[in-house]
């Protein structure tokens, strides 16, 4: 099997995922044809829906880049959920207190989440603690702690939502397709995609990072300081997740709403798996997933199925996609 075989296998997984959604809707909905219509055509109905769908891409791209950069270095970062949510929260509340320096807040959010992920890298470096599990567990705890902070000490008493206060208007990202939510954040995400691509493929650091990911022993033998690439890619990975959350706040929500980003990390992970951790492939994969996500939101809004129907797509992809990955690795050996 060559590249062609890979793409065929990928198309097969996607087809099975879509088929599973169709079957689920036929089973669950009392008006299945209408629900299918809203699911598959709703996101493309007019510029408002298209803009909102495209807007979902920003977070998916950044999160998927984050997962991929860790993966390319041989580390698993499964803490996307918590890193996105906590990054968004830190970016929001620091912005509220920084006044004129509010633009720094996005960076602080990214730094915080980067630090959280790097902590898992440090544990792996020091004691070989499995980073797959530590990132996941820390993330779950973070979500709950941020939930408490948003609903407690940082609650905005003036809204009916469980949310923090809104960031100042001058920090909000420019909207580019009113009245939809689409904003300049998507452009930032695309620029960062290009930067990550250049870093991984055109710089010495990126080359070393990938070498460590492919074969740490060989990389060490070749004089690469492997320890550095247990920490640095994890930091970048967490920071990109944090930025995904921050941009969602700065571009779309303007505040941290309780659990607003739940599911974004898993969807970004699915995007990264579909793109096989290649930055340029992440963009179309994110578009595909944004379409499905917009579709399931639409179907919930206008018909009788709930948003969680997208978890069926996630499950099918997660069940099937690493099987083809593993086969690829065996070929390499």
């Amino acid at each position: 099997m060559g590249k062609k075989g890979d793409i065929l296998a990928l198309l097969f997984v996607i087809a099975v995922a879509i088929l599973a959604v169709i079957v689920a809707i036929l089973f669950l909905s009392k008006q299945p044809m209408l629900t299918l219509h809203y699911f598959f055509l709703g996101p493309l109905k007019n510029t408002y829906y298209i803009g909102n769908m495209l807007n979902l891409m920003s977070g998916l791209i950044l999160g998927a880049l984050g997962f991929s950069i860790a993966m390319q270095s041989g580390s698993f970062n499964l803490g996307g959920e918590g890193q996105i949510y906590a990054g968004a929260f830190i970016a929001t509340v620091t912005s509220l207190y920084l006044g004129k320096l509010g633009f720094l807040a996005l960076l602080l959010g990214a730094l915080f989440s980067g630090g959280v992920a790097a902590f898992s890298g440090l544990l792996k470096l020091k004691w070989k603690t499995n980073e797959l599990i530590t990132t996941f567990l820390i993330s779950y705890a973070l979500v709950l702690i941020v939930n408490y902070l948003v609903g407690g000490p940082f609650l905005d008493p003036e809204t009916n939502l469980i949310a923090t206060r809104k960031i100042a208007p001058q920090w909000r990202l420019l909207r580019i397709l009113e009245p939809s939510n689409l904003n300049i954040g998507l452009l930032y995400a695309l620029i960062i995609t290009l930067l990550v691509h250049l870093y991984l493929n055109k710089t010495r650091g990126g080359y070393e990072l990938r070498m460590v990911g492919l074969n740490p022993k060989f990389a060490r033998y070749g004089g690469i300081r492997v320890e550095r690439y247990l920490l640095w890619p994890m930091f970048l990975s967490g920071a990109l997740h944090g930025l995904a959350g921050g941009i969602a706040v700065y571009g779309t929500y303007w505040a941290t709403v309780k659990e607003f980003s739940i599911g974004m990390g898993w969807n970004a992970l699915a995007v990264a798996l579909i793109a096989h951790f290649r930055p340029w492939a992440i963009v179309p994969a994110a578009l595909f997933f944004a379409y499905l996500e917009a579709g399931s939101r639409n179907a919930m809004l206008h018909s009788d199925v709930t948003f969680e129907i997208i978890s069926i797509v996630q499950a099918v992809i997660f069940f099937l996609i690493t099987s083809s990955l593993l086969q690829r690795e065996r070929r390499r050996e």
Binding site: K126, W127, L137, I138, L144, Q314, F318
Partner: protein, 283 residues
């Protein structure tokens, strides 16, 4: 809520943990870290109470929950062992599927995504102050001990974690042994879930809330031995009963209590890896 003495309440709380941990012991001893305990338990909880509600029989509810969870375990085992997926990603798929599916179905059946209370259910049979699952979990731990240490299947399964190649060179198929281990873990998790929902008489979305993860810690803390599991599960039961009490007494935010299983699991993971590194360096 009726205030039970701490000890009695610990015995009740430890029951689903002990069941899930016993199931997880089979996969763990075969050399697989099974994070899907959480999802399988959740599906078991949902299926048990739904089927009990529609059939009017607790026993039928439990039996059908076993069937549903075994199906999920079979999917997990098939994707992991036969399609050779990454165990953590397929386990994640299992958890996400269980979480999503139970919400989707509960929305379809009852029109809401929140707590569903079933008032028509009969209470679980009580014996000496505890419901029947408490005794069942002890009995099934004994059965697990017997299977793991005194049957050919158990002995070969345990040898898998040490060296799978030796077993296959002797003509046994490791994959089959692991598949059965997945199914057994599904069986125990179904009962663990049923304990949760049937003793409460309600289904709460994501009601397992980290218990599958705690079950993994129970396995590690219990040194992967049946008696160790019993002790570790009891300690967790006691800690949980105490934190329930503390939450009321000191007004600790509920979110922090909910975060405890994850933080605890994390600390145990870190401690365990630090300890084994330390031992390695001594050698």
């Amino acid at each position: 809520m009726v205030r039970m003495p701490l000890l009695a309440s610990a015995v009740t709380i430890m029951t689903p943990l002990l069941l899930a941990a016993t199931g997880g012991l089979f996969t763990e001893l075969s050399g697989m870290l099974n994070i899907a305990l959480e999802g399988m338990m959740l599906l078991g909880a949902f299926a048990a109470i739904i089927f009990a509600h529609y059939s009017g029989s607790l026993l039928l509810g439990v039996l059908l929950a076993l069937l549903a969870t075994l199906l999920l375990a079979a999917i997990l085992g098939f994707a992991t062992l036969y399609l050779k997926g990454n165990l953590f990603i397929t386990g994640l798929a299992t958890n996400l599927l269980a979480s999503g599916l139970t919400i989707i179905l509960s929305y379809r059946m009852f029109g809401n995504k929140g707590v569903v209370v079933f008032r028509d259910l009969r209470d679980l049979p009580i014996l000496f102050g505890h419901h029947i699952f408490v005794y069942l979990s002890w009995l099934l731990l004994l059965v697990a001990y017997f299977v793991l240490y005194h049957t050919p299947y158990g002995i070969r399964l345990r040898s898998l974690a040490l060296n799978a190649e030796v077993l296959s060179s002797l003509g046994y198929r490791p994959r089959r042994y692991r598949m059965v281990a997945f199914l057994i873990s599904g069986f125990y998790c179904a009962l663990a879930g049923a304990t949760l929902s049937l003793s409460l008489g309600a289904f709460v979305p994501n009601m397992t809330s980290g218990k599958g993860w705690i079950a993994l810690v129970v396995i590690f803390l219990g040194q992967k031995r049946p008696l160790g599991l019993l002790i570790a599960a009891f300690i967790f039961g006691l800690a949980d009963a105490f934190s329930n009490y503390a939450q009321g007494a000191f007004a600790i935010p509920a979110e922090f209590i909910l975060a405890l299983p994850y933080i605890f699991t994390l600390l145990v993971m870190i401690g365990q890896s630090a300890y084994s590194e330390y031992k390695k360096r001594l050698k």
